[in-house]
């Protein structure tokens, strides 16, 4: 993966930059010793590493503004970082950049149950947002798998989803307002405790903009009362096609489960070995979860199981207790861990129209043979968001490259059948060079024009999202 060559002029001014940052931040918030900056050399896309020039850990919006103003004045690129859990390289630094970590911005500012929102600083982790309100019966709905670690700032940057977004939506559907700092240090407010921000929907625009338009320091998030209960059912099938048809029938029937998760045979086997969740030995497995009171759950599951029976399932198991529910979810939630136990893997994130599920799974199977790498599929079937996991051996020369080429082919397939490159992880550097498969030149130019408006000097996370060849003109013109 190519990154722009570091600017030697910036590298030569490191001491000056660090001195200026120390003027406005406490000493322990400026990290410039090469031994320490290595802690920021990568995110969860660990195949790519590069220590930054420096890292800063501001504690207030004002400090963030001061940092950005200084970097803006000195022409130094800034890479914002939440918790560094990006699977797409969203927080990968360049040698001449400053990492701006929001980890110290982790306070709850306001909780308002009457109006059903919480306002937090953006470095707070996803799970601890729910943690702040759950004793009172509330929760924050988006639930990415990394929710224990990932920060709200990163969730907003990547518009993160999760298993339960079939019902509750992704980050952009649950974000009411932000305090954001522009690259020149200007602090702006968008939205708030009211619905539908005024003017153009800039809130919708910055959500998912991968830290390229501004640094969010505070966020107002919608919270909901927890449902009375939830219960999953496990449905096993002889073929992926039948499982796909069952998903479509459930949706058409008018029941809207909170989650429909899909695992294929390689994934079922691996998780069974790893977590002993008691999954059946079959080709495809669905976990369908519904919510409500006991009686409402019974009623919905009856409909769902009725539909499943028309597809001759090899297993149909309703959870009978909280322990059983936990066990059913255990396998799904440990899928990535299970794959990691077998081998190195790359996790993809393409989305496809649900109707294309059987065809895409068949093609992935064929490609797996062509490339000679195993692949396991686990994904959010209700909304077509796939997570093929390609297994490879990082120590074997050429394997990573083969894996990347295979991954690119899968993502191109997703686009071909009417889907997209990434459903919830973001483009980062990982899918940057595939963008031209999804969008035409003018489509990308329009998006880059938006960055021109928010960050005319292209200093915020500049080498991400857009193919370098396409963004070159903007980045170089800005220098």
């Amino acid at each position: 993966m190519e990154m722009p060559a570091p600017n030697p002029d910036i590298l030569s001014r490191k001491a000056d930059l660090v001195a200026r940052l120390l003027d406005i931040l406490p000493a322990d918030a400026v990290i410039s010793d090469p031994a320490e900056t290595r802690a920021y050399e990568c995110d969860a896309l660990t195949a790519y590493k590069c220590p930054p020039l420096a890292a800063v850990l501001p504690s207030t919006t004002q400090e963030v503004s001061d940092v950005l103003r200084i970097c803006h004045e000195m022409g130094v690129p800034v890479v914002p970082r939440g918790s560094g859990t990006s699977l797409a390289g969203g927080a990968l630094p360049t040698e001449d950049s400053v990492i701006l970590g929001v980890a110290r911005l982790n306070d709850v500012i306001e909780t308002d149950y009457d109006n059903r929102f919480i306002r937090v600083q953006s470095g707070r982790t996803n799970l601890s947002v729910t943690g702040a309100v759950e004793e009172d019966g509330y929760f924050y709905a988006p639930d990415p798998s990394s929710q224990l670690a990932c920060a709200i700032a990163g969730n907003i940057a990547m518009n993160s989803g999760g298993a339960h977004c079939l019902k509750y939506g992704v980050t952009t559907n649950n974000l009411l307002g932000v305090t954001m700092v522009l690259m020149d240090g200007t602090v702006i407010e968008l939205g708030g405790a009211h619905l539908d921000a005024e003017g153009y929907d800039l809130l919708g625009l910055i959500c998912g903009s991968e830290g390229q338009l501004g640094v969010v320091t505070e966020a107002t998030l919608r919270i909901l009362h927890k449902p009375e209960g939830a219960r999953p059912v496990l449905i096993g099938f002889d073929s992926n096609e039948v499982a796909g048809a069952c998903v479509s029938d459930i949706i058409k029937a008018g029941v809207l489960p909170v989650a429909i998760e899909f695992m294929d045979r390689p994934c079922i086997r691996a998780t069974e070995d790893f977590a002993q969740a008691g999954y059946p030995d079959c080709e495809a497995l669905l976990i369908v979860e519904v919510e409500g009171s006991e009686a409402e759950i019974d009623e919905q599951l009856e409909t769902i199981m009725g539909i499943a029976r028309t597809h001759d399932p090899v297993e149909l198991r309703q959870s009978g207790s909280a322990e059983e529910s936990a066990k059913i979810w255990l396998g799904r939630k440990s899928a990535f861990g299970a794959m990691g136990n077998i081998n190195d893997y790359m996790c993809l994130d393409g989305t496809i129209p649900v109707s294309q599920l059987p065809y895409v799974l068949k093609r992935i199977g064929e490609m797996s043979k062509e490339f000679g790498l195993d692949v396991a599929n686990v994904f959010h079937a209700g909304d077509g968001n796939m997570h093929p996991l390609i297994l490879f051996d990082a120590n074997k020369p050429g394997d990573l490259e083969t894996c990347e080429a295979f991954g690119a082919e899968i993502l191109k397939l997703c686009v071909e059948v009417g889907g997209c490159l990434t459903g919830e992880h973001g483009v980062g550097i990982e899918k940057r060079d595939l963008m031209a498969h999804q969008y035409g030149e003018r489509d990308l130019a329009m998006q880059m024009a938006v960055k021109d408006v928010f960050d005319p000097k292209w200093l915020l996370n500049p080498a991400k999202v857009f193919p370098l060849a396409a963004s070159d003109a903007h980045r170089i013109a800005a220098e």
Binding site: D114, N115, M158, G161, L166, T172, N173, T186, I188, E189, G192, A193, H194, L195, D196, A197, E198, G199, Y200, D201, L202, L203, G204, L205, G208, H225, P227, V247, S248, D249, K252, A253, G254, G292, S293, A295, E296, E299, T351, I352, P353, D383, G384, G418, C420, L421, T422, G423, E424, V427, M435, Y439, R442, M446, Q447, A449, V450, V453, F454, V465
Partner: protein, 384 residues
């Protein structure tokens, strides 16, 4: 002047490329919101038709000028619907014509269910549009989860044709529910009513509508809460909600399909204000701020939706603008003049740095200033 009425996206792009005169863009022309634009009238009604509908994937793709009624009929045939429940502005604004799906998204029009399932913009998955240079731009797609590049889809929603002319929209649809239950209580004052609505919305019972009319159908104030689902589930939740709300007043339940539909359509379309005099304002605020705000503005009749977060205000002609702007500046939120004298500006004035971003974006999307110029202008720039 006869309307320009392109029949294809290419023809539309050609018109924009070749013109040097501003365009006054509309779909069906039923929602004349914003500062009046001086320009050649152009309608997208000629770009019509559903291109793709996959009920099992909950997605539909249609050309922007497709009549809303045609889309709703296609969805109803499969037991599905537009969950965000777009309001029909014709009664309130005294307009005629056929609302289009493009118009719904250009104005980001949502109804009572917005409080539970999201706004129009939350259901818009992808767009094609012609920008101010006459280029066709694509963004988003037709799948429910998509974070590939910047979300210009959201930016287009609610931009009233000032950034581009929508030619095609892809949207998410949802299943219809079987039964609607409407709980109502007469005689609550605004403060108590909003408190009751907040309590209901803060319960686990999935309220899909929460409104309060100062003057209900019988003249007395009426507070209403909607729940939807299967028969058993609606009955259960209605019972639980009545217990939760007992401290506020006695709520009765109506599950008649026709009358519940009429009730929520009346709220959606702000029916109490149809055929009345006066200016109509639409305010979006933090729900618990709403009753105090209405009291401070004074001399207004209010209809609260979204649990109090959406206020429809009817005020005497041309008088209340400054008052409303001052009051809402204190609480936060925003106010839009929907019907009436437009001298004081239509949309909420923005903070200077945000206004600057908005203006720069507009110039990038429409460098020659051809697309509904001035429609969303700030008060001090308004032409009238």
């Amino acid at each position: 002047m006869k309307d320009l009425r392109p029949e294809t996206e290419a023809e539309l792009a050609g018109i924009v490329r070749d013109t040097s005169e501003p365009l006054r863009i509309r779909g069906g022309g039923t929602r004349p919101i914003g500062v009046r634009v001086n320009g050649a009238p152009l309608t997208t009604a000629g770009l019509s038709g559903i291109d793709l509908y996959e009920p099992g994937a909950l997605t539909l793709v249609a050309k922007a000028g497709t009549p809303l009624a045609e889309i709703e009929a296609a969805l109803a045939a499969e037991g599905q619907r537009l969950a965000f429940e777009p309001m029909d502005h014709r009664g309130l604004l005294g307009t005629e014509g056929e609302p289009t799906i493009g118009g719904v998204f250009a104005a980001n029009v949502s109804g009572p269910r917005r409080i539970q399932c999201g706004a129009a913009r939350d259901f818009l998955l992808g767009v094609r549009f012609v920008d101010g240079r006459g280029e066709v731009i694509r963004n988003g797609g037709r799948v429910m989860k998509n974070v590939t590049g910047y979300d210009l889809v959201k930016l287009m929603a609610g931009s009233y044709g000032t950034l581009g002319i929508l030619t095609e929209v892809a949207l998410k649809v949802l299943p219809k529910t079987q039964v609607t239950g409407s709980l109502s209580c007469e005689g609550l004052d605004d403060e108590t009513a909003i408190a009751a609505l907040c309590r209901a919305l803060g319960s686990p019972y999935e309220v899909t509508g929460a409104a309060h009319m100062q003057a209900g159908p019988e003249g007395a104030p009426r507070t209403m809460i909607r729940i939807e689902g299967t028969e058993a589930s609606v009955a259960y939740r209605a019972g639980e909600l009545r217990k939760v709300l007992a401290a506020f007043g006695e709520f009765t339940i109506d599950t008649d399909p026709d009358s519940t539909k009429a009730t929520w359509r009346a709220i959606r379309d702000v029916q109490p204000f149809h055929g009345t005099d006066g200016d109509i304002w639409r305010l979006s605020v933090k729900p618990t701020d709403a009753p105090g705000l209405v009291a401070r503005i004074g001399g207004a009749e209010a209809l609260y939706d979204w649990g109090g977060g959406l206020i429809w205000l009817r005020v005497p002609k041309g008088t209340a603008g400054p008052n409303i702007r001052t009051a809402i500046a204190e609480t936060g939120g925003h106010a839009t003049l929907i019907r009436g004298t437009r001298g004081g500006g239509v949309f909420q004035p923005l903070a200077p740095p945000v206004a600057a971003l908005q203006e720069c974006l507009r110039k990038r999307f429409d460098p020659k200033g051809l697309l509904n110029p001035g429609l969303m202008a700030q008060a001090n720039e308004a032409a009238e």
